[in-house]
């Protein structure tokens, strides 16, 4: 598999521990900046980032819409693509949760596959959790940042990957003079729900409006989140909260910490 060849441009890469970045379909297609920011964060804490070219999707669209067989084949493809890496990093709690919590269940009936799924589950991390748990002290800090931040906890970061406190701590350590303000209903769903927002557009809009109002009430300059799905959904209402910038936490940190991203390399 050619995707396993070390393709990193840095000569020092051989000494760095390697991680695979599983971008997720939303980041891959629309929010490509999140992928580069994730790579920048991982690079900044001393990891060599590999983006396996065989990667596609975690399979949630099929899994959550009644196509278990389709989901199983996508899961097997993803397992085969990622299984040889020591760590697999996912810039989404939703997709990380799918791999960590649902793959083993989905493949329960096939013993060998279940074992492989568990193996992958154990070494798959949500990006911010990985950065925080492994090497947060390696990140630079920016004491000049004095603006107000709020954070939208996606349902999957609350319940699937449990990455909530880590976010607050990481922001506090990297941006010690930032003012962090909690949402009043931080556990409320924003209404994205994958295909839910397509099937029940008006309910999803109502829930997004509630969330946007909550975000707006904080008077924050930035609202971060760990899931591009929520961000894409909430962005439908971008006009109604023009003073707040809604960003994936990786993009926000990469920008505020002035991390070099590989994005500009093609220029």
């Amino acid at each position: 598999m050619n995707n396993l060849e070390p393709a990193s441009p840095q000569s020092s890469a051989a000494q760095k521990p390697q991680v695979a970045l599983f971008a997720t379909c939303l980041v891959n297609t629309f929010h490509t900046k999140v992928g580069f920011a994730a790579a920048a964060l991982l690079d900044a804490i001393g990891y060599s980032v590999e983006v396996p070219t065989q990667q596609t999707c975690c399979g949630q669209p099929n899994y959550n819409n009644g196509d278990h067989n389709g989901a199983i084949t996508v899961a097997k493809h993803t397992i085969e693509t990622l299984t040889s890496y020591d760590h697999v990093i996912v810039p989404s709690s939703s997709c990380a949760g799918m791999i960590k919590n649902h793959y083993p269940r989905l493949l329960d009936a096939e013993h060998d596959w279940r074992r492989k799924a568990e193996g992958l589950a154990n070494k798959t991390w949500e990006l911010v959790d990985f950065v925080y748990q492994k090497k947060r002290h390696a990140l630079p800090s920016n004491a000049d940042f004095r603006k107000t931040i709020t954070h939208h906890d996606s349902c999957s970061s609350i319940r699937e990957t449990k990455v909530t406190d880590q976010v607050r701590s990481l922001i506090a350590e990297c941006l010690p003079n930032a003012h962090f303000k909690e949402l009043s209903e931080s556990e409320a769903c924003c209404g994205f729900g994958g295909t839910f927002c397509v099937k029940f557009g008006d309910i999803a809009s109502q829930l997004a409006t509630n969330k946007i109002t909550d975000i707006g009430n904080t008077k924050a300059d930035y609202c971060t989140s760990l899931d591009s799905g929520c961000n894409a959904h909430l962005n439908r209402f971008a006009e109604s909260y023009e003073t707040v910038r809604l960003q994936h936490l990786a993009v926000f940190l990469a920008e505020q910490l002035n991390l070099a991203t590989f994005e500009s390399a093609k220029d």
Binding site: N28, K33, V51, S156, R159
Partner: protein, 471 residues
Amino acid sequence: MKTIDPINTTNPNGFKNQASAALEDTNLQTALQRAKSGFIEKRKKAIHLVDDFEHLKTQAQQAKQSALDNLNHHLALFEKNVVASGGAVHRAKTPAELNQIVLKICQQQNAKLVTKGKSMVSEETHLNAFLEKHGISTAETDLGEYIIQLAKEKPSHIIAPAVHKTRQQVAELFKHNHELGERDLEEIRALVDEARAMLRKAFLLADVGITGANLLVADTGSVAIVTNEGNGDLTATLPKTHIVTASIEKVVANMEDAGKILQVLGRSATGQAMSTYTSFFNGPRRTEDLDGPSAFHVVILDNGRSDILNSKYKDMMRCIKCGACLNHCPVYGAVGGHAYGDVYPGPMGSVLTPLMKGIEQATPLPNASTFCGRCEEVCPMSIPLPELLRQLRNDQATKGLAPKLQSMALGIYGWLARKPRLFQLTMGMFGRVVKLFKVSHILPQETPAPDAPDTFVQQWKKSKQGHSENE
């Protein structure tokens, strides 16, 4: 302003339109907003006051599960002990059977008026309408049930039936239905007092009292009812005949297990360590008793529950009808209970309705969830509601009940997701189209420049090649 007519026009398959109407109903939205924050805050506080709520949950779940694992034994024991204390137990397979049994008992008593405590089982069987058709008047005595009976509606919540109504709507309803002249009904207190005065007459006149049951205790033959208004007790003890309508999964082994479930029920439902009244009814009055009914009947309904217990959906039978999943569900919170079009709304209803009515009778309901997972988190019985809903979606697809376009799109997507090169090309093109036509809601605020239409994987590859060439 649109409003939903919850009586005749709603059904589970009409969820989408019913939900849209609910979102436009300003009174409903006001009522829902008020109720939601109250329920959530109260539960949170009640749970914080307990040292280890997880432990209480585990205990309660074990109590419930062990009763379900040996259900027939416990039901038989319950029946034996009810009979021993002078009562009677009747088993009803279907809603129609339950209604017939209740009617027969009422007719034997020449009943003209029946008072009723809250019973979701009687909602399942449409008992009131059935009795009325046979010339027996019914008077709901739970305040919420009383309100919706006046309004000729159905409950929109399993523990707060009239939660969809604002105080102002209730005041109007009372003024319209109670001929009491001009009066001030601004305060809740005034509404409660008026309802109480109206209900008192019914309590004293009723020939039969019908209540639900929160628990059936096998080794004592007791029926437990929790209320906050005491109406259940007056319904059970004042008339000559007390009929309990219950369902099979309400049985527990003994008082100790009942206690374990009660400890999580009140906290999960209303944020109370214990509801104001927790009453245990044991058979008819004994010769030495000063009051109580002279006849005591328990009618136990199955209505598909045995089948659910023998299926992959058996976890659903642990449900103790606390309503916590409704109170924390974003979808229920947005549209209320009537939109679901049947007796049980919210996450628990979205599982129960298709299982009890037929999966094809309620296809939107299992889909009406964002899978946020909060229902499972707050469920005192740890019922994996999102997983059960996901299973139902799978059953729909397997039975060809999913929309054709959806199945086709998923088929193509699932196939593409195993063809990495084609996947990147297709997603790149898809992204390009979306960006070109500015389908703005999919795009991030930092919209990618139109000259960078590649997928992340494609861009990454190019940037790596760029690096290699520069070296």
